[in-house]
């Protein structure tokens, strides 16, 4: 593992977290607006929306680090006809531009909610295309460790899991900021926060389930593969990287599963707001570390077919 591969780990994790956050925010905002009106929904999500921008920008800047010749990086979108890498870069840049435009309009309340909605939908769609393209970049016929359904499933699971927990943490931080002078949980905002965190807890347990099913299936698939490259990848996973993979699964179980359940319980019973916040932060940090470890093994344990 070298600087170049760490740059790819950072790029894919942060870009996926940004897409997931955007999607989750859209869903939460939709239900919050239906329940308590547009104004309360905006109060809940506007600051969280602005937090996505820097993360996304950071991911794009970091992606340049893995290039040997960054001066030519503008050329990375010149082979859209056949290269998924070109499509990935184009959708990453488009997501940044359209998502950024929406964030600006939402922040400044430019144009009507309907127009903003259309732009948000467009950005969300591009975000999904981005994660889909990202998956296809790795599904090379000469890379058995990557060329399976496990890649898109894992990428989308990471996208949504980091998305829900990052936005949960952002909501908690936003609420703490809004309510600095007015502790307690009597207002609509706090009710919204608790309702959101309950759903976030449920979503993370479901996504955890997907990850816990796919990870062993992926290893079994590799071990059953007939090519020498597939066997070599499986040997790497069972050998040196097995411990990291196991740590990752334990951490994601702890963060999304155990803490998720506690979070659900806390968000259900009033008067536990402080613990609720701490649990959300802890779940996010633990799952983030787990996903980085998972991505580390993804890059470390692939063996190409051939010589």
């Amino acid at each position: 593992m070298n600087v170049r591969e760490w740059a790819l780990i950072a790029f894919t994790i942060l870009a996926q977290m940004s897409v997931g956050s955007f999607l989750v925010l859209g869903v939460v905002h939709f239900f919050a607006a239906r329940k308590d009106g547009m104004e309360e929904a905006d109060r809940l999500s506007d600051r969280a929306l602005l937090a996505i921008g820097p993360v996304l920008a950071l991911s794009l800047i970091v992606s340049l680090v893995h290039l040997g010749n960054p001066m030519n990086s503008y050329r990375a979108v010149t082979n859209l006809g056949t290269s998924w890498l070109s499509r990935e870069i184009l959708s990453a840049v488009s997501f940044t531009v359209v998502g950024g435009l929406f964030a600006l309009m939402q922040w400044r309340k430019i144009a009507t909610p309907l127009i903003r909605n259309v732009i948000a939908w467009l950005a969300a769609l591009i975000g999904v295309v981005l994660v889909y393209s990202m998956s296809n970049v790795y599904m090379l016929p000469t890379q058995p460790a990557w060329d399976s359904l496990a890649t898109p499933i894992t990428f989308f699971a990471t996208t949504l899991l980091l998305g829900v927990l990052a936005m949960g943490a952002a909501f908690v931080a936003n609420y703490a900021y809004v309510q600095r002078t007015n502790p307690g949980c009597a207002d609509k905002q706090c009710q919204l926060l608790r309702a959101s965190l309950r759903w976030i807890a449920v979503a993370s347990v479901v996504l955890l389930g997907i990850e816990l099913i796919v990870a062993p299936l992926q290893v079994a698939y590799l071990a059953a593969g007939t090519s020498a490259a597939s066997q070599a990848s499986a040997a790497l996973v069972f050998g040196g990287y097995g411990l990291i993979l196991a740590t990752r699964l334990v951490l994601v179980f702890l963060g999304a599963g155990i803490i998720g359940l506690f979070l659900y319980q806390n968000a259900t019973s009033p008067g536990q707001e402080k613990i609720m916040g701490t649990l959300t932060y802890a779940a996010f940090v633990i799952v983030f570390v787990a996903e980085v470890l998972g991505r580390y093994v993804f890059y470390a344990a692939h063996v190409r077919i051939g010589i």
Binding site: G68, N79, L85
Partner: protein, 207 residues
């Protein structure tokens, strides 16, 4: 003009001396760690008890000289995001370093490990089939240098007519992956691609 140039390699004649590789490095002025042509020593076998001693059992070894296979369906060209890799009318696959962004994605794709990163330039490099020598009617440097006459080149159809259709021995991947433009005469102990029981013996030399 030829439709698809290709290399021919006679594994039954190759001694594994690497003169082809050295000639390539010299002709193309490559750094020592950028090898467009590589020679793999492949072997295997085991030991069985024979009375009081252990005797070799089915021990075999042979050498395979490889470079870019100038595939008919080059995966490197398909996946390159910068459209820096192209295929000439004569089938030769070339990389334009002025377009390369140095992402090394082609390196992940090519099953022959033919895409070599130039740390000093920050871009990829690969076998050019010695296009300058070809233009002068000469042979590529590796072919000229082979003391065992184990290398040849030419129009792929002509090579097949002359040497047969063999193209997949270990440790090479199946040629069907990318339609490699190569013809190979197997060594007598050669194993077919995908059925190998041996391993590359000189990994530290040819990474």
């Amino acid at each position: 003009m030829a439709k698809q140039l290709g290399f021919y390699f006679d594994a039954s004649a190759c001694s594994g001396c690497k003169a082809c590789q050295v000639a390539c490095q010299d002709k193309n002025d490559l750094p020592h760690n950028v090898t467009w042509r590589r020679v793999f020593h492949y072997g295997g076998g085991s030991w069985i008890p024979d009375g009081d001693v252990m005797a070799p059992n089915d021990v075999y070894a042979y050498s395979v000289s490889t470079a870019c296979m100038h595939c008919e369906e080059p995966l490197c060209m398909e996946v390159c995001p910068a459209a820096a890799i192209s295929k000439r009318d004569d089938g030769v696959v070339l990389i334009d370093q002025s377009k390369c962004i140095g992402c090394r994605y082609c390196e992940w794709a090519c099953p022959y490990g033919a895409m070599r990163f130039r740390e000093d330039l920050g871009v990829m490099s690969k076998c050019t089939f010695c296009q300058d020598l070809l233009a002068q009617g000469q042979s590529p440097a590796c072919v000229s240098a082979c003391v065992m006459r184990a290398l040849d080149f030419g129009e792929l159809d002509d090579l097949r007519a002359k040497y047969g259709a063999g193209n997949g021995i270990e440790p090479l991947p199946e040629a069907s992956f990318t339609k490699a433009a190569v013809v190979i005469t197997p060594h007598k102990d050669a194993q077919m691609s995908g059925t190998g029981t041996g391993k590359i013996l000189n990994v530290s030399e040819e990474v």
